[in-house]
């Protein structure tokens, strides 16, 4: 079992003939993903890495039923591409686009919610269930860092996730599924919305949340724990503890405004709910060992 994607998912790649689309399609296939078709308007009849290309998503899924769409589409065309995937009946979408206009991000999330779909991203490396499947931009070597295992990971960051996951692996654990919800202020799917999946996933023993200042996603995780939606152990690491108010720390979503969205408040909420909060990357591994025991002995 895994969360969001698995080997059994049939994945469509929108924007497959572009440089990124072609490059990462190969990686996705090599990491086990079943890429069934690609879409680039005007390029029907071509093929990329052996994957047939169609003009539109509707034409592609008519020939190759698909569950999930991976978008390598520029930010300003992302809304259209997401709506096209949803209109064709696809209910899982990942978009790596960095720079989706804010109002369009709202429309993307609203459209997904209204039809019960999930859009992951933008501004993310994507999702990976190591050893099974990947949608996004995780290169081959990443499997050495994201070793297959039983820890679920959710994150707003890219490089920081490598940093933290390396600590999880150093502590002797591995990753079941990693979901990058992305660094934007309006991600398509929010941390708390994946918690029921991790709760149901028999392959996940605990979840690590890599959050940061800004927004309310970490507080929602605390609420989900308190409401009993999620009962497995949860360890959070939160970036931006010392960030000055009013300065946007790189990610569009990483800003404290008017006293809202501080790491202090988030950490307090999570601790109140019973989650463990790591004060530095290395502590994530330490806390997991405290909670789950030494994985070498289990």
């Amino acid at each position: 079992m895994s969360v969001f994607i698995d080997r059994s998912d049939r994945v469509l790649v929108q924007g497959i003939t572009g440089g990124e689309g072609t490059f990462w399609t190969k990686h996705m296939r090599d990491l086990g993903t079943d890429v069934v078709a690609g879409v680039t308007p005007g390029k029907e009849g071509q093929s990329v890495e052996g994957v047939p290309v169609y003009h539109t998503v509707r034409r592609a899924v008519a020939e190759h039923p698909a569950d999930a769409a991976m978008l390598f589409v520029p930010p300003r065309f992302t809304k259209d591409a997401v709506l096209e995937a949803l209109d064709a009946g696809i209910r899982k979408v990942v978009t790596i686009a960095d720079g989706i206009p804010l109002h369009e991000a709202l429309e993307i999330r609203a459209a997904a919610r209204s039809c019960g779909a999930r859009v992951v991203g933008g501004n993310t490396s994507g999702v990976i269930s190591p050893g099974r499947a990947m949608m996004g931009m995780f290169p081959y070597w990443i499997e050495r860092v994201y070793r297959p295992g039983r820890i679920g990971v959710m994150t707003r960051s890219g490089s920081l996730t490598n940093e933290v996951t390396a600590m999880i692996v150093r502590a002797g654990f591995g990753v079941s599924s990693l979901l990058g919800v992305g660094g934007d202020s309006v991600p398509g799917t929010r941390f708390a919305e994946f918690l029921p999946d991790f709760q149901a996933d028999s392959g996940t023993d605990a979840v690590v949340v890599i959050g940061e200042l800004g927004g309310t996603m970490e507080e929602e995780v605390a609420e989900a724990i308190e409401s009993g939606v999620f009962c497995k152990p949860l360890v959070a690491f939160l970036g931006g503890r010392n960030a000055p108010a009013g300065k946007r720390m790189g990610h569009a979503g990483a800003i404290v405004t008017g006293g809202k969205g501080t790491v202090e408040g988030k950490a307090a909420a999570l601790k109140r709910a019973g989650a463990a909060v790591a004060d530095r990357p290395r502590a994530v591994g330490d806390l997991l060992r405290e909670i789950l025991g030494d994985p070498a002995h289990s």
Binding site: R113, N162, E163, G239, K247, G250, A252, G259, R280
Partner: protein
């Protein structure tokens, strides 16, 4: 991107929101002239991008031309970087309201926030008496329908003409919000005048940076930034924040850079600048180091853990930068990820001693900075050897 008050008010006015009569002036004489035309008393409002201008003494009521001239001179000379003053007629205020539209990421909608107490900081109020805040959700597909505007106006306790006018202003504010791809459109305070009018006393409009391509002419100029380096970094598309400490961060990945910032502060160090050269900028090491050096830092700290942003490419960029710019301060480098082995070789050939642990790198940078402060001088390039 935040607009200045006078820019926001121009947008408001074009959409039909009444604003006080005003003139923009750039020197004390211009202010005095504008004040004479506006009549006395009138208000001098410094056009700077910060909240709490009133408390900071950046908004002044003046009652005569000499007072206007002198006050303006003082404002222009203040340390707040005042370059323009909006000279505005005084309004005969009966009541003040708060009105804003922003986004609700969880609900995937816009939301109106309103309060029958104007002039307040809405966040303070949210913390202090949340029950005083009127909220109205606005699905983007529906837009701010007239009934939603009425819901807000009547929930504020307004009636009659004031309710109708306020609802009309809210509908106009919605058009401002949508047409400008706003993160925030705010009128605080909204004046109800003794004559029965409704006038926007202040105007805030923040345009989503990712939507700026749809708003040509709105590119932020030098005065939007608090340093030349920040302005130049923005022009390059490199995320950069100006601080006044002594360790220059030259990291990749927004989240990781933020954590490095945290760790430095934890270790007692201080940051000269936040600079993130990951993502699309991972080949811009030379430009990044140039920006760092503008701060004359005591240490440059490089931390990366890239997948797409390849370690070997970044290392080569750093090598190039060191050769070209010959920084006098020490460099601490901790570069992991794709192409790590090759990156290590490149760094070693530069005479650097690459580290593999972020916390260790941070401690070393803080120690070097402290040592440099102690000695009063930075060691030469490659001083981290």
């Amino acid at each position: 991107m935040k607009l200045h008050e006078h820019e926001a008010k121009d947008v408001f006015k074009a959409e039909g929101i009444p604003v006080p009569r005003s003139v923009l002036a750039t020197d004390p004489e211009g202010v005095a002239r504008a004040a004479r035309e506006a009549g006395f008393p009138c208000v001098l409002k410094s056009q700077v991008l910060r909240g709490g201008r009133g408390k900071a003494g950046l908004i002044k009521l003046v009652r005569s031309e000499p007072e206007a001239r002198d006050t303006a001179a003082a404002l222009f000379a203040s340390p707040h970087g005042v370059r323009r003053i909006l000279v505005e007629e005084a309004v005969d205020i009966d009541r003040e309201l708060y009105l804003s539209i922003t986004v609700d990421p969880a609900a995937a909608e816009a939301v109106v926030l309103a309060c029958s107490e104007g002039g307040v900081e809405i966040e303070d109020l949210a913390a202090r008496s949340p029950e005083k805040i009127v909220r109205e959700r606005v699905p983007l597909a529906e837009g701010l329908s007239p009934y939603r505007a009425r819901n807000v106006a009547y929930a504020l306790g307004l009636s009659g003409d004031a309710a109708k006018k306020t609802a009309g202003i809210l509908e106009a504010l919605w058009r401002v919000f949508r047409k400008n791809d706003a993160e925030l459109a705010e009128i605080n305070p909204l004046f109800l005048t003794k004559g029965g009018g409704v006038v926007a006393g202040d105007g805030k409009l923040a345009i989503d940076d990712n939507s700026l391509f749809r708003h040509p002419g709105r590119e932020p100029g030098r005065d939007y930034y608090d340093s030349d380096a920040a302005f130049e970094a923005a022009a390059e598309g490199i995320p950069y924040l100006q601080f006044d400490g002594d360790i220059s961060l030259m990291c990749a990945g927004a989240g990781l850079t933020t954590v490095v910032y945290d760790l430095i502060v934890d270790e007692g160090g201080s940051v000269a600048n936040y600079l993130e050269f990951g993502g699309p900028n991972y080949k811009k090491a030379v430009r990044a180091m140039e920006l760092c050096l503008k701060n004359e830092p005591k240490v440059i700290l490089i931390v990366t853990f890239g997948t797409i942003a390849r370690a070997d490419v970044m290392a080569e960029g750093i090598a190039d930068a060191v050769k070209r710019l010959a920084p006098k301060c020490p460099i601490v480098a901790c570069i992991r990820g794709t192409g790590e082995e090759k990156a290590v070789e490149t760094l070693r050939s530069l005479g650097l001693d690459p580290l593999f642990d972020t916390e260790e790198a941070v401690r070393k940078a803080v120690a070097l900075a402290a040592a440099a402060r102690g000695s009063g001088a930075a060691p030469g390039a490659g001083g981290s050897k």
